[in-house]
């Protein structure tokens, strides 16, 4: 029993950040950042107003637009508002892995069930803007070497499996994947790192509906 309380106590002290960006109905993107304790209770939630890239940005940033917007603009603004320091940040889009160059905490992309951690989307393609302003896909240019993923525009990454979760960890700091493994392994049995993104999406939809 004592051991159980210690375990719960440790878990309650755990702080995990979840960052996700959703397309907004009026165009652009809306970002959400949820901080949970180790048992999944919400502590903080921050969301942005819609962020719409300009046509110039779409043309000039090309395939790097999303990494720029998600990881260098939306993410850092949200994290700046947070009051609770977190042990790690999980993202639902691989483009957000650029966050790793902005912050010191480990950043990991949680790979959805049934998708390869090496690929974005089912066809392994990344988004680039088309001249008509709509988004289409083009072949991805990534490689994997000994568990390390390299993708243009992103920091080097490493695939880590914790319980049923497959994580693509930005390895700007080489020790980041191991830190993450040590942090989460004690609770890997029931750990579902994808689930909080559903909550963020519901909250962002609610926030959009209610203005």
């Amino acid at each position: 029993m004592r051991e159980h309380h210690d375990s719960v106590g440790n878990r309650l002290a755990l702080r995990l950040g979840f960052f996700s960006v959703c397309p907004h109905v009026d165009g652009g993107f809306i970002g959400g950042y949820l901080i949970l304790n180790g048992v999944g209770r919400p502590l903080e939630f921050h969301c942005t107003t819609p962020v719409k890239p300009t046509r110039t940005q779409e043309i000039l940033f090309g395939a790097t637009l999303k990494p720029y917007l998600f990881g260098e603009q939306i993410g850092p603004v949200l994290f700046a508002k947070a009051k609770t320091p977190v042990h790690a940040i999980f993202v639902s889009q691989w483009e957000s892995l650029t966050l790793a160059s902005q912050i010191s905490e480990p950043v990991a992309f949680v790979c959805p069930e049934g998708e390869s951690p090496l690929l974005e989307g089912a066809d392994g393609a990344s988004d680039v803007p088309r001249s008509n302003g709509r988004w289409e896909t083009s072949p991805s240019n990534e490689t994997q070497t000994c568990g390390v993923i390299e993708r243009v525009g992103l920091p080097p990454c490493q695939v880590v499996r914790i319980g049923k979760n497959r994580l693509v960890v930005a390895a700007i700091r080489p020790e980041a994947p191991e830190e993450l493994r040590e942090l989460l392994s004690p609770w890997e049995a029931g750990l579902d790192l994808l689930e909080p993104f559903g909550r963020i999406q519901a909250a962002l939809e609610e926030a959009s509906r209610r203005g």
């Binding site: 159980h4 719960v8 309650l12 970002g31 949820l34 304790n37 048992v39 999944g40 209770r41 919400p42 502590l43 903080e44 939630f45 921050h46 969301c47 942005t48 107003t49 962020v51 719409k52 890239p53 110039t56 940005q57 000039l60 917007l69 603009q73 939306i74 603004v77 949200l78 508002k81 947070a82 009051k83 049923k164 049995a189 029931g190 579902d192 689930e195 909550r199 519901a202 909250a203 609610e206 926030a207 209610r210």
Partner: protein, 649 residues
């Protein structure tokens, strides 16, 4: 330009003199390469000597040749205007952020009730619960395994997750997000180490998720789906989260002990106090602090109203609850009744109603219940379909056929029997004489007069008072022989104690037990225990009033409605004592109906009431008649009310 151009002099050009001008071939190639670094010079290009002879002829031009060359310099301005530069500034987008901070509710873990919870959930409590679950007769068809945190986590991992619903009446975005961002109910229960004697059904967790955030709610599940468990679990969770500290549960008096038992089973760590005893003791019980859950009965509330509405010297109500739950809330359907007004006068923050039959007679029933939940929200003149839409977010109703695919079926048999000749003779005489009397009363006839005649005739349909003949009894005895032979058990319902006793006398061989209004409350649990455990007792004779609510008799396979109640909802309640979660097999319900009698006419009215219920809770077509009106009651005997007569005149 190629390197060949440097090596050769164009042919046909005249030479003035022979001049030897050696030029190393290699140098020319190097020059060319330096000029055109990208060109692919052929390194294997052949070399030719640049030493060639020049012959000079005297042509008179020699002097001119010897003159120095005149050079004319012409300057060409090759500079151009600097190009215009268009600078596109890539500004970082301006991003506004909305922030929401939630109370880290581990702070509430240390609340007094929580501390007590942890203490009680030690080894003794666990042992007693284990014992309870082993003895529990309620769910013979289900696993006896306790549902612990690991089991709940397994449900989470398997994707069985129910989220807490955000009620429509929660307006503020931060309040809505607070609910939306919570983990699934299964995860919350697992994390808080809430154990259950049995694994809850998914629809039950859905019910908990429905109740948990709501300040006004009706859980209107069909009888037998476990409203009690859902309410207790929601209360338990609210207490654990520190959202409530004082809860009052109000139920009919016969169900008080049932609720206490259910709390011991589903939430053994929660201290429960039953409000009872003399007025002085009850006053003390109402005012006592630090009691998480109190149970009171409806009959008590009007008498104790002065206790729980009393104010202190600052004008504040001394007794206030965070949550008041009404079981069998149809008891307050009449909003002018003393019970309704007493219930509505209780100071509270949240109001929940539990009922399998939120509409028994007319839409007024719902209006009465909503006077407690959200005063003024409904008005009596609302049409049923609009009413259904208005209350949609406040009501959760599931039926067994929708949520319990594995529940054994309920087989309804309408046993239409002909009266025996003796009964028929008595019945016809009584009806003729009764109608004659009512007619003679003229304008003085009241609904009470009509009711008296109805009751008289219904009793004759059961037993002929002169001879004791009974067509229903003959049929019942035939059925019971077969049932007793198979070792199964049956409940027989009637609205009269006298009828039950008469049936009991004739079925003495089956050692029937009685459960009706005259059975002392303290003996009722024992009656149920004997009926459940003692194979000698195969029949339970129950009155609708005493036995239609709150009892769990899943081990019964046969239900007989010896006579019909006025209200189909009460009949359903009675049937569902047996047809509920844990039912071991099909439940066969036999509804006796004597043909060509008042019973048949009443049955038509009951069917119309069923239609009303369907209209409100499933959006079907609005029925023509909403309730049993005075005209309809008079119409049972082709009589007209005064108003109808006046209109006709």
């Amino acid at each position: 330009m190629s390197h060949q151009a440097l090596d050769r002099v164009p042919e046909g050009r005249p030479s003035a003199s022979r001049v030897e001008t050696p030029l190393p071939t290699a140098t020319a190639i190097e020059i060319a390469k330096s000029w055109f670094p990208g060109d692919d010079f052929a390194c294997d290009a052949h070399s030719e000597s640049l030493v060639f002879s020049v012959q000079i002829y005297p042509t008179g031009w020699n002097r001119a040749i010897q003159r120095g060359c005149e050079s004319v310099v012409q300057s060409v301005d090759i500079t151009c205007k600097p190009p215009r530069v268009l600078s596109l500034q890539i500004r970082d987008p301006v991003i506004c952020v909305r922030s929401f901070f939630f109370l880290a509710d581990e702070q509430t873990e240390g609340s007094p009730s929580q501390q007590r919870c942890q203490n009680v959930s030690g080894s003794n409590a666990a042992q007693s619960r284990q014992q309870e679950s082993q003895n529990d007769p309620q769910t013979p068809g289900r696993s006896r395994l306790r549902c612990c945190a690991e089991e709940l986590l397994r449900l989470v991992t398997a994707g069985h997750q129910h989220r807490i619903e955000v009620p429509e009446d929660v307006i503020k975005l931060e309040d809505r997000l607070r609910y939306l961002l919570q983990p699934s109910l299964e995860a919350i229960l697992a994390e808080r180490q809430l154990e259950f004697p049995f694994t809850p059904f998914p629809y039950q967790l859905e019910g908990v998720a429905f109740l948990f955030p709501r300040h006004a709610a009706i859980l209107a599940d069909e009888m037998g789906l476990g409203k009690t468990m859902q309410a207790i679990t929601a209360i338990r969770l609210l207490l654990r989260c520190g959202e409530v500290r004082r809860v009052l549960l109000v139920c009919p008096k016969p169900l008080v002990s049932n609720w206490r038992r259910e709390f011991e089973l589903w939430a053994p760590e929660i201290p429960v106090m039953v409000i009872e005893g003399d007025p002085q003791r009850r006053k003390w019980q109402w005012e006592l602090a630090d009691v998480p859950v109190r149970i009171a009965n409806y009959e008590l509330l009007p008498r104790d109203q002065e206790f729980f509405t009393a104010s202190d010297e600052t004008g504040q109500t001394k007794v206030a609850f965070d949550l008041v739950v009404l079981d069998e809330s149809q008891r307050i359907k009449n909003r002018h009744s003393a019970t309704n007004q007493a219930v509505c006068s209780i100071a509270r923050k949240r109001s929940w109603a539990l009922t399998g039959t939120p509409v028994e007679n007319s839409t007024d029933d719902l209006v009465g219940i909503f006077e407690f939940l959200s005063p003024g929200f409904l008005s009596p003149d609302m049409k049923p379909q609009r009413l259904g839409r208005t209350i949609a977010d406040y009501v959760l109703r599931r039926t067994k056929d929708r949520v319990l695919s594995d529940l054994p079926p309920k087989i309804l048999r309408d046993a239409e029997v002909e009266l025996t000749p003796e009964q028929r003779e008595t019945y016809d005489l009584a009806e003729t004489a009764g109608v004659l009397r009512l007619t003679e009363l003229g304008d003085a006839v009241t609904i009470q007069h009509v009711f008296e005649l109805v009751i008289r005739l219904k009793q004759i349909c059961n037993f002929d008072p002169a001879t004791g003949a009974s067509a229903k009894m003959e049929r019942l005895e035939a059925d019971l022989e077969e049932i007793a032979g198979s070792g199964r058990k049956a409940i027989i319902f009637s609205q009269w104690v006298a009828t039950l006793e008469e049936i009991g006398r004739r079925l003495e061989r089956y050692k029937p037990l009685y459960f009706h209004g005259q059975t002392p409350v303290r003996q009722r649990d024992e009656v149920i225990r004997r009926f459940r455990e003692d194979p000698q007792h195969r029949i339970l004779l129950m009155s609708y009033g005493a036995g239609s609510v709150g009892l769990n008799l899943q081990f019964v396979n046969y239900v007989f409605l010896f006579d019909r109640w006025w209200n189909p909802a009460v009949e359903d309640q009675a049937i569902n004592r047996a047809h509920r979660i844990g039912a071991a097999g099909p439940v066969i319900v036999t509804r006796f109906l004597t043909v060509d009698t008042i019973e048949q006419r009443i049955n038509m009215v009951l069917e119309q009431k069923r239609q009303l219920f369907e209209t409100i809770f499933s959006g079907t077509v609005e029925p023509k008649k909403l309730a049993l009106t005075q005209e309809e009651i008079f119409g049972l005997f082709d009589l007209k009310t005064m108003a109808t007569r006046a209109k006709a005149a």
